[in-house]
Amino acid sequence: MIERTLGDMGKIHVQCVINGDEKEFLCEARESLLEVLREGLGFTGTKEGCNDGNCGACSVTLDGVLVDSCLVLAVEVQGREITTVEGLAIADGLHPLQQKFLEHASLQCGICTPGFLVASKALLDQNPDPTEHQVRHWLAGNLCRCTGYDKIVRAVLDAAETVRS
């Protein structure tokens, strides 16, 4: 006898915009945005560190608001706009945050980097001149085990200066 699974209730059709492009996909009600981005749509730049909202590796913006994509159900993004790390670079090169992360050696293993970049961009979008404390406060939801954060905080402050000028 074949047991039926909870996933057998049929898939749901979702339309959204990812990094400026219209996308549509089918998902189960129980799938997170993170899962669909990574496994379904191939946006593997968004990382999974904990799958329970505690590390920030999966940070994306949803209609401009910073969220942990592991805590968003994929069905919730119907009609909404998502930006992932893959959407940060601009046509003629890297975003200043990406460039400063490289110059300051702000990544070691780099698994936290996409999350930090997306979160930092969300900060600079609303506060282009943050203090060190404001940067630390904003990024406290993003964990990095490698760097001790020093070079990350410096890169964000330096990038803010570039963005302002």
Binding site: M1, I2, E3, T5, G7, D8, E31, R38, E39, F43, T44, G45, K47, E48, G49, C50, N51, D52, N54, C55, A57, T84, E86, L88, L94, Q98, L102, E103, H104, A105, L107, Q108, C109, G110, I111, C112, T113, P114, L117, E132, V135, R136, H137, A140, G141, N142, L143, C144, R145, C146, T147, G148, Y149, D150, K151, V153, R154, L157, D158, E161
Partner: protein, 771 residues
């Protein structure tokens, strides 16, 4: 504020062009754009998803496993248990490059055979068409357990009559099997001189007794593995591992397959710190793939990472040290007991080598014990064992200084380990930088700036870690535009592709940007040991230097061919081949590269090394200022300086990064990281929310000083720097807390409640002035 370039204090006089600069890492753009492929990003056609069923009990016998309901679930393709692994003789050993390991223990840790030894111990694996279905299937597997009493702390486990974790484990006593059943896997000893006599004759002695909790490596990327066992019998594994070749050997031993039939493809890796040396999911994914004929991907949940992968051991340590009236250390004694977890093999041996490594002490006795408990099998974590012992030793040094009425840093300088000294484990030091680091600390602005304000204190401590040496391979192929493709065997966890490429470039007078470094899989490069033991920039960098020498020798022959002269008429200097006597003849590397096609074809250079272990090593000193809130017991780090000997910093930014990262891990270990175990042996805080690693908001900037005392055992004088920085912070923090509020902390972590209790004990809950 914005510059992230720390200070460098050099004691060497070599001048380099590439070494010591700060180029952008070669893999950087892929890592800031999200394009780099990490283990968990692996996606293959027809791929299935796996999950692992884990024991809910810390200690139990498995009576039976019934997976029939799970197998019947729609979408489930396979269920595997230990019965699907080949049997292993109980005494079979495998060499993993970091010493031999018992295959039976490795195998039982992958999938439990007859007993589960910790909560989270893997029992069965499932492959299904989606991770959710695999998850549902886990709840349908019926395991009948006979629950046994757990033992979760080292001192309990060592007691006569403690529940036995392995009924057949007997104690090795100073290398001899005692045939005595016990949780003590081994008792070992190092002796130097005559401690009893020297201690009796000491002017002053101080003793300190500490307990430390299990802490986790805490890498942000969970363990993952994707396996495809092809119909021709070839097994390919894509995984985030610290050592592709070590993983290959482990897999061969556990699965009973010749390594020639296993290819391990190391994907980008999201941190390891020692925890990604052992395999966990790879054998399970392999079995599932063999049974289904599909690639199978497994990723651990964060809770599984905490509950089932190697934490560093909890420990009990007692240290006594004695000085003569001049403050010279005359004797030291340590008792060290480590929780190995479910299977023997804690890093207590390394702890015993590190315990008195920073000081010149003629008489030492170190007794050390490896003890099994019902916790996950412990594995290496950054400078394994060194942080534990530094906590005890450095507190004793502060006590001795207080009793002698001298400055604690001066006492350390007076007794610092130097070249020619014999360590308690018998090693005689070559040129090392312990004293230099301590003196740089004493002369540093941080140390010279008075710390003011109530409840504030400053602490200083020093720690040590080896460069383990070991085997590395590098292959270099010269392209006809003069660029070079460099394949190396060390997985790159923190920018080492670049530090290896820089050593290659320096040797040939090229620029870092001329080199395209990549990490090879086990079929693409020679054997290379793990990324660990602070060895990659040191040993694989050395292999790159050797590969460059090989390229140089081959290129030199080509020049001779072009000029139609003898080989020995050509010399090479700073990227240019010249005729020794005819000044009109010169060719630079790029010009010559363009001629390779016409002079015999490609030039491919090889380098492989196996440097002796124990050369040099690295010392790290911390100065920490903090403030204790006497109402809540909370500690705020106000200023932190790490000073470490890098021998020669190849890429100073990544050296600083190692120092800062290790320092912050040490701060977390010191102040709040720990496994909470219930009486039943269940970890109660297996999430990043409850097992709290430091966040941006907990920390100040971490200042660094790179000290360069060249390593005589390396072509560029490199010392590996990955680990020593984690050793001193808990000790420095404990010393600072004592100086701030008089509280004597002897248990890690130094949580607020422990600080309040220690303040009560000190009889002093009111503010005291900073000391």
């Amino acid at each position: 504020m914005l510059s992230s370039h720390g200070e460098i204090r050099s004691f060497g006089d070599e001048k380099y062009k590439v070494v010591g600069t700060r180029p952008i890492r070669h893999d950087g753009t892929d890592k800031v754009t999200g394009r780099a492929v990490y283990g968990g990003d692996t996606r293959l056609p027809g791929m299935l998803y796996g999950q692992v069923l884990r024991s809910p009990h810390a200690h139990a016998r498995i009576r039976s496993i019934d997976s029939s309901k799970a197998e019947a679930l729609d979408g489930v393709k396979s269920v595997v248990t230990a019965a699907d692994l080949p049997p292993t003789a109980s005494d079979e050993m495998v060499d993993l490059g970091e010493g031999p390991a018992r295959v039976k223990f490795m195998r039982d840790n992958i999938l439990a055979t007859d007993k589960v030894l910790y909560r989270g111990h893997a029992v069965a694996g499932v492959a299904a068409t989606s991770p959710h279905i695999a998850d549902e299937a886990l709840s349908l597997i019926e395991v009948d357990y006979e629950v046994l009493p757990p033992v979760v702390t080292v001192l309990e486990a060592m007691k006569e009559g403690a529940p036995l974790i392995h009924e057949d484990l007997t104690t090795m006593e100073l290398g001899e099997d005692t045939d005595k059943n016990s949780n003590i896997a081994s008792h070992m000893q190092h002796t130097l001189g005559d401690v009893e006599q020297a201690m009796a004759g000491a002017h002053l002695t101080a003793e300190f007794e500490v307990h430390t909790s299990s802490v986790h490596q805490g890498y942000i990327e969970p363990q993952n593995a994707t396996a495809f066992w092809n119909q021709d019998g070839m097994l390919t594994i894509w995984t985030s591992t610290q050592g592709a070749f070590t993983a290959q050997r482990q897999l061969g031993a556990i699965l009973g397959v010749p390594v020639a039939r296993i290819k391990v493809v190391p994907q980008e890796i999201g941190g390891g710190f020692g925890g990604k040396i052992p395999v966990y999911l790879e054998p399970v994914a392999s079995l599932l793939s063999r049974q289904t004929g599909h690639p199978v991907k497994l990723i651990m949940s964060r809770a599984d990472v905490f509950e089932a992968t190697g934490p560093t051991p909890g420990s009990y340590i007692r240290v006594t040290m004695g000085v003569d009236s001049s403050g010279k250390l005359v004797a030291a004694e340590a008792y060290i007991a480590f929780e190995a977890g479910g299977y023997p093999g804690s890093p207590v041996f390394a702890a015993a080598m590190c315990v008195f490594a920073c000081y010149d002490i003629p008489n030492c006795l170190v007794d050390f014990y490896d003890v099994v408990v019902n916790k996950p099998r412990s594995f290496a974590y950054r400078a394994p064992g060194s942080t534990h012992v530094a906590f005890a030793v450095e507190k004793v040094m502060d006590e001795l200084a207080a009793k002698l009425g001298v400055d604690a840093l001066e006492l350390r300088i007076q007794n610092a380990a130097t070249e020619g000294m014999r360590r308690s484990d018998g090693i005689v030091y070559p040129r090392i930088g312990c004293k230099e680091c301590l003196e740089v600390a004493r002369d540093h602005d941080h140390f010279k700036t008075p710390l003011e304000g109530p409840n504030r204190g400053r602490g200083v401590a020093v720690g040590y870690w080896f460069n383990i040496g070991f085997k590395s391979s590098v292959t270099a192929s010269v392209n006809n535009d003069g660029s070079v493709n460099l394949v190396e065997g060390s997985t790159d966890i923190g920018g080492t592709r670049t530090s290896i490429a820089m050593q290659f470039a320096e040797t040939l007078g090229l620029a870092a940007e001329d080199i395209n470094p990549s990490v090879g899989d086990t079929s693409a490069i020679g054997y290379t040991d793990v990324t660990g033991g602070s060895r990659v920039t040191y040993a694989t960098g050395w292999a790159a230097y050797e590969a460059a020498q090989d390229v140089k020798a081959q290129m030199l022959k080509r020049v001779a061919m072009v000029w139609e002269v003898e080989d020995d008429e050509v010399e090479f200097d700073d990227g240019v081949f010249r005729h020794k006597t005819d000044a009109s003849k010169s060719l630079n590397f790029k010009e010559l590269a363009a001629k390779l096609d016409d002079t015999g074809g490609p030039v491919v250079g090889n380098g492989s090394v196996d440097p002796a272990a124990g050369v040099g090593g690295s010392f790290c000193v911390n100065i920490v200022d903090l403030e204790v809130d006497p109402e809540t017991g909370k500690v705020d780090i106000l200023r932190f300086t790490a000073i470490q000997d890098a021998g020669k910093a190849i890429h100073p930014s990544y050296v600083e990064g190692q120092m800062q990262g290790g320092s912050v891990q040490g701060i977390g270990w010191g102040l709040n990281e720990e496994y909470f175990f219930t009486d039943e042996g269940r970890m109660a805080n297996s999430s990043f929310l409850d097992y709290r690693i430091p966040t941006t908001l907990d920390l100040p900037m971490i200042d660094t000083v790179i000290v360069e005392v060249p390593n005589p055992g390396h072509p560029f004088g490199v010392r590996g720097v990955g680990e020593a920085s984690i050793a001193p912070p808990p000790a420095a923090i404990a010393c600072a807390i004592k100086n701030a509020v008089g509280a004597q902390l002897c248990v890690l972590p130094m949580r607020p409640d422990r600080i309040l209790a220690a303040l009560d004990e000190a009889g002093d809950r009111v503010s005291v002035a900073a000391g």
